[in-house]
């Protein structure tokens, strides 16, 4: 149920707070009412048709660096 899919925003209607995301090539209608100022190009977690969180790329890269660091050490 709490499956959330990381997806890229490809279309936003700022007035209606709806738009579409691209998930592995599939374009899905999405509600952006739970986030502020969603823009085309943002990465978001989508759950049950609603974007619930914006993904932060610098945090993602930091976590990846940490993963690689641990993996290289082992």
């Amino acid at each position: 149920m709490c499956l959330g899919i990381p997806s890229k925003v490809i279309e936003v209607d700022p007035a209606l707070k709806t738009g579409r995301i691209d998930y592995l090539g599939t374009k899905i209608k999405t509600n952006f009412a739970l986030l502020e100022d969603v823009k085309v190009g943002d990465w978001v977690i989508v759950h049950a048709g609603f974007a619930i969180s914006r993904l932060d790329e610098s945090d993602a890269l930091e976590t990846l660096d940490l993963l690689r660091e641990v993996a290289d050490k082992a």
Binding site: L34, A48, G49, E62, T63
Partner: protein, 370 residues
């Protein structure tokens, strides 16, 4: 967001597992971690991490994190009663909900009253669209979920009120995650060394609501994402907290979870919903573990609108041990029905129905199958 594949890279995962085994060696036995979230259960089994972690000395047990599973029979039966007992009523719900067996069968097999139907929706928004398209019918959205889903259900209730959609209501089965963790720890039936907290519930509620686990129970915890690398990073943090004797709420999913959660979603929940005591399958009544539509929104509350009297009980159907599985007291293969009478194509309880139910996950990916 490039290079996300690295979160499941074979070399990275092997390295993390080696490090987990290494850090585990210095700790007194046993290390047993409860993954609260059903989507974590699924990831852990799908990627074979369960056995690999066991080999590294870390036992994972599943918690109550499947909303389809913890919703008591009586609520499923109330939904079924609406669509079979009322004419011209469309019951909209998520797919898993239609297959849950009750004393009266499942929604999927139910014979709706004249002009009535069960409709599967992916998003709560689709249930609103059904109400707009069918002004001559009552549309009831059977909305079930944890904090991940609750804001979107609050959103549709608010939108229906703003539009004055008179033919729309919500049969809400809304559950919040922190109170059952406290109930599990207080009951002490299962000894655990720490919690892996759910990533997407935490994206909404933030990290503060778990602080009591470290403060009052002295137990470590870590919020984790849903790639194998995320989960193993969470477990490393738990091991470090155990070693240092410094329990806290670590956030290992910073790319999606802020300490304060999602303020827009939290405000919407507070605007539309009130906390309520709620009865969970297997766990019983837990104070303030559910949310109800505020009395002002009674026109959109299906329970009030149709005068439903639902008296939920924690019990399973005869023979089914979903309740024990949800408390982490038994693993699915310990249930006598598992893999025999109870299978994905003939489920005896909700944990064999839901995509993230522990029994379905064990049956699909587990080694132990009769």
């Amino acid at each position: 967001m490039r290079s996300m594949e690295a979160f499941r890279d074979r070399k990275v995962v092997a390295g993390l597992l080696g490090e987990i085994a290494e850090r585990r060696r210095g700790l007194p036995a046993p290390v047993r971690i409860m993954e609260v979230c059903g989507t974590h259960t699924m990831t852990i089994h799908r990627h074979g991490l369960k056995g690999l972690l066991e080999a590294a000395g870390v036992e994972m047990v599943s918690g109550p994190g499947c909303p389809v599973c913890i919703t008591p029979n009586e609520i499923h039966e109330a939904a079924l009663g609406l669509v079979t007992g009322r004419e011209n009523t469309i019951l909209a719900t998520f797919g898993d909900m239609t297959r849950v067996p009750t004393r009266r069968g499942s929604l999927q097999a139910a014979v709706p009253a004249r002009g009535s139907a069960v409709r599967i929706v992916y998003s709560p928004d689709e249930s609103l669209a059904l109400a707009r398209r069918n002004p001559d019918k009552e549309v009831v959205f059977f909305g079930v979920g944890f904090e991940t889903t609750i804001p979107s259900i609050a959103f549709v209730a608010k939108a229906a009120a703003a539009e004055r959609l008179a033919n729309y209501s919500v049969l809400a089965a809304l559950w919040v995650i922190p109170p059952p963790l406290k109930a599990i720890l207080t009951a002490g039936e299962v000894r655990i060394s720490g919690f892996l907290y759910p990533g997407h519930v935490s994206a909404i509620i933030g990290t503060e609501p778990y602080e009591f686990v470290a403060r009052d129970f002295g137990l470590p915890g870590a919020v984790a994402g849903f790639e194998p690398g995320d989960i193993l990073l969470g477990i490393l943090s738990l091991l470090d907290q155990i070693r240092d004797g410094r329990p806290r709420v670590a956030n290992e999913y910073t790319r999606a979870v802020r300490p304060e959660g999602n303020p827009v979603a939290r405000a919407l929940m507070a605007e539309m919903l009130d906390p309520a005591d709620a009865c969970w399958r297997g766990l019983g009544v837990i104070p303030a573990s559910g949310l109800k539509l505020k009395p002002g929104g009674a026109a959109y509350d299906a329970e009030a609108k149709f005068g439903l009297r639902i008296e939920p009980r924690p019990t399973d159907l005869p023979g089914c041990r979903c309740g024990d599985v949800l408390r982490g007291v038994i693993a699915p293969p310990a249930c006598p029905l598992f893999g025999r009478a109870c299978r994905p194509d003939s489920p005896c309880g909700p944990c064999m129905v839901s995509f993230e139910g522990a029994c379905l996950v064990h049956h699909k990916y587990g080694a132990a199958r009769p």
